[in-house]
């Protein structure tokens, strides 16, 4: 059927990059569900809710916890993966609300997740010293 081969883009299948973004979204979703309740309850709202004292959230303790190798894991799970999770939903939300779609919206969404993640990693590594 020569008619079908007229368009070259139809003959070479296009590999979708959606699995990458969806995996990051999904991993981020698990991290959000597991880590965000604990961190909001005990750190961000801990003092106003009376669950922890200011002494428990001391600079020395938090610095030791966050700038520990395992702290990097928590930073990745509580900040980097949730960023990809959020920007994936925003990317699809913009399309759903007919606000934006196409390449530019996609680049802006995932691009900002990448840039903010680099900022997070930069802050963590510069805080080590």
């Amino acid at each position: 059927m020569p008619m079908l081969n007229k368009n070259a883009s139809q003959t070479t299948p296009h590999r979708s990059d959606e699995p990458i973004w969806w995996s990051l979204f999904s991993a981020g979703g698990v991290c959000v569900a597991m880590l965000v309740p604990a961190i909001t309850l005990l750190v961000l709202l801990g003092i106003p809710l009376g669950l922890v004292s200011a002494e428990q959230l001391s600079y020395q303790r938090l610095h030791a916890l966050v700038f520990h190798p395992l702290g990097l894991g928590v930073v990745l799970g509580a900040m980097v993966l949730p960023l990809f999770h959020a920007m994936h939903r925003i990317h699809h939300g913009l399309h759903d609300l007919k606000l934006a779609h196409g390449r530019l919206a996609k680049w802006l969404c995932y691009g900002s997740a990448v840039l903010l993640s680099l900022l997070v990693l930069g802050l963590w590594f510069s805080g080590l010293g």
């Binding site: 309740p37 750190v43 610095h63």
Partner: protein, 133 residues
């Protein structure tokens, strides 16, 4: 082939028209308070890197009413998101023990137990055992 196919109109407000669509959009919207949560942590990470006085400033910033309000919203949103995610898990990836499939309620409660365990672990890391607060 010359006839134009009919394309039904799809207004941007389509999601208001059915409870299931509204529920979908509400779940999608949980990422907005989540972005505030990440921004709060970003500020905290920066403050920790700057030294003790910035950290104390950060702790008092956390106690401003609007920050408390947005972080409370982030907490509620994360619990709502967790619920939708946990309910999906046994449907997407049913676990089998021998010939039996683990019941959905068991998998969902195991995940909630995980959330509770993380809260307790963080409380312990923050010296919850020794503190008499």
């Amino acid at each position: 082939m010359s006839r134009k196919p009919y394309q039904p109109p799809m207004p941007a407000s389509w999601w208001l028209k059915h409870p299931a669509y509204r529920f979908y959009m509400l779940r999608e919207a949980t990422v907005l308070p989540l972005l505030f949560f990440v921004a709060s942590l970003l500020y905290g990470l920066y403050a920790l890197g700057q030294g003790e006085s910035s950290w104390l400033q950060y702790l008092s910033w956390l106690q401003q009413p609007w920050v408390i309000a947005l972080n409370s919203l982030a907490l509620v949103a994360s619990l709502f998101h967790a619920w939708t995610f946990f309910v999906l898990f046994p449907q997407v990836m049913p676990l089998r023990l021998g010939s039996r499939t683990l019941p959905a309620w068991l998998m969902v409660s195991a995940q909630w137990a995980g959330v509770l365990l993380v809260i307790l672990a963080l409380w312990w890391l923050l010296g919850g055992m020794n503190a008499d607060a």
